[in-house]
């Protein structure tokens, strides 16, 4: 129960926090078609997070709902990886993060579609289709920017370099994952290979940047985040918290 709940929070928080970042693009995208597409990705992730957070509240026996988790936890109770919480940067950096996240999450959902918990398995089974589209979207823009103008290639390379140190956390097992038989280290090889293929096809270099250091061995999955998360949550939670007990 507790492990399943913790795992649902990890995956649910990843989706929620990345959705919040994508939402920030709304009314700021480079083209109306991208407004529509980015909103689509955010809606998919938001949907996944709602199911996962709901499942967490069932599994931990507290009966907490999706909004209890989203609006009433403090920063250190969030379990997302640090990759998803930083500011968007420019469009290229947004695409770079999306490429890393969607490739890794797609590979994970593929495995989880056969997971013991039927609810999580169902989220994964549906999510794998959505993530395939996200990966496709990120890949196509990586190719366009990498193969577009000199400037766009430079931005795309800089975007990849900026987010690369945060990739490793997606493959670093938390004890909960080990106990559930879902060691993300297994994804490292295949995901890196997929990413290398796309990046190379885009005419760019796979960044050599080493993983970002942890803090006393802890990182996002342990509730130790970057400074960006506190500000993100301050905004996300402000209205809900101004009206305790209200229904919306």
């Amino acid at each position: 129960g507790a492990d399943l709940a913790a795992y649902c929070l990890m995956l649910g928080d990843d989706a929620l926090v990345l959705a919040q970042r994508l939402i920030e693009w709304c009314t700021r995208a480079p083209e109306l078609e991208e407004e529509v597409a980015l909103a689509n990705l955010a809606l998919d992730l938001l949907g996944q997070s709602r199911q996962l957070l709901t499942r967490a509240g069932q599994a931990d026996g507290t009966g907490r709902g999706e909004d209890d988790f989203a609006y009433w936890r403090e920063d250190h109770e969030f379990r997302n990886v640090r990759l998803v919480e930083g500011p968007n940067g420019d469009f290229a950096q947004t695409i770079a993060r999306l490429l890393l996240f969607s490739t890794a999450r797609h590979a994970l959902y593929e495995r989880l579609a056969g997971f013991a918990d039927p609810v999580l398995a169902a989220v994964a089974a549906r999510g794998v289709k959505e993530l395939a589209y996200h990966r496709e979207y990120a890949t196509s823009w990586t190719l366009r920017l990498g193969g577009g103008t000199e400037y766009s290639a430079e931005r795309m390379q800089a975007g990849l370099t900026a987010v690369w140190p945060l990739l490793d956390e997606l493959f670093t097992a938390h004890p909960v994952e080990i106990r559930l038989g879902a060691d993300p280290a297994e994804l490292r090889g295949p995901v890196l290979a997929e990413l290398a293929e796309v990046i190379t096809e885009a005419g760019l270099a796979v960044p050599a940047a080493a993983p970002m250091a942890r803090v006393g061995g802890r990182a996002g999955r342990d509730g130790v985040h970057t400074e960006a998360l506190g500000l993100l949550l301050a905004e996300l939670q402000v209205v809900a918290r101004a009206h305790p007990g209200a229904t919306w």
Binding site: I23, L43, L53, A70, L145, T149, V239, T247
Partner: protein, 311 residues
């Protein structure tokens, strides 16, 4: 002259003019201006509500609001496409928007100050837009009429969602009810002004009606909106901020007070609370995205060239 006679006959018979048909220059110009302004309004209209996307107080409301913003971007896309059938292009229209040479609905120059504003915009602003737009589904220009059918369907959905949000808030805490009343107080008069100046001050109405672009005068639509909205306000339990509002038994409609046309004129002239920031946001997005659009074009060109070489 023969062409013109044919055009007049088609319009008179309530049939549709299509892009390939001959049309008077003034008809084309009126339509381009109106459709562009309508498209711009959809795009700029994403901003006031978009202001609450990151702060929506439940994940369900966040998803609903995001889907609505996405629909509005979609409406902008159909409408720009409809305008393009008249021989202008989207990039050119966007240029005119961000340089302030083309307008959008002045309603979006008011700020959204609480989450209840999201509901009130759905109820009143989308409601007024629907009153304006339903007749456009029968507009004489085919592509515009067809776009409006889809737009109106989605707008009605948004309006119901807005009203439902308000019902939830009115059944909620005192703070939530206060938010709703406050939002209604701020949006009521600007919503009435969405129908344009009084008929006496609206010189273009007659021609637009003759061309079957417009079907009703500003004042007719405004009255229809008030008559529709007053009972909804009662059902909701909010007070509309107009002491002159009273049922007129004789003509079977609601009498109401005069909007502050001088405030509207200020907003139209660019001095509204948000004019500068709305256009600036759109301009910044457009400029910041220029390198992305260029890259996409350059990439497509390279791909096409390569495909040519491979043949």
């Amino acid at each position: 002259a023969e062409l013109e006679a044919h055009f007049d006959a088609v319009v008179g018979a309530e049939q549709r003019i299509e892009p390939r048909d001959w049309m008077p220059d003034a008809y084309r110009a009126t339509l381009v201006r109106q459709i562009a302004q309508h498209a711009h309004s959809e795009i700029i209209g994403m901003q006031p509500e978009g202001n609450w996307l990151t702060r929506a107080p439940s994940l369900r409301r966040k998803a609903i609001l995001l889907a609505k913003a996405q629909d509005e971007a979609g409406h902008g896309l159909y409408l720009y496409a409809a305008a393009e059938t008249l021989g202008v292009d989207r990039a050119e229209l966007t240029e005119k928007l961000v340089s302030g040479r083309q307008k959008y609905s002045s309603i979006f120059n008011y700020p959204t100050l609480t989450f209840a504003d999201v509901g009130v915009i759905g109820w009143l602003v989308d409601g007024a837009a629907i009153c304006n737009q339903v007749p456009l589904c029968r507009c004489s220009y085919g592509p515009y009429a067809r776009a409006m059918v889809r737009v109106c369907k989605e707008e009605s959905f948004h309006q119901r969602q807005g009203y439902e949000l308000l019902m939830t808030l009115m059944r909620g805490t005192e703070g939530q009810r206060r938010m709703v009343q406050d939002a209604v107080d701020r949006w009521w008069w600007p919503s009435l002004m969405m129908f344009g100046p009084p008929d006496g001050d609206s010189p273009n109405t007659a021609q637009s009606m003759a061309w079957r672009i417009k079907r009703h005068t500003n004042d007719e639509l405004r009255q229809r909106f008030v008559d529709m909205t007053v009972p909804q306000a009662e059902h909701l339990g909010v007070t509309l901020p107009d002491p002159a509002l009273s049922w007129n038994e004789e003509r079977g409609g609601w009498d109401f007070g005069e909007p502050d046309w001088s405030e509207l004129k200020q907003v139209i002239k660019g001095q509204g609370p948000c004019n500068a920031e709305r256009v600036e946001r759109r301009r910044a997005a457009h400029e910041d995205g220029a390198w992305v659009r260029e890259a996409a074009l350059a990439y497509a060109a390279k791909q096409q060239k390569q495909r040519g070489t491979e043949k």
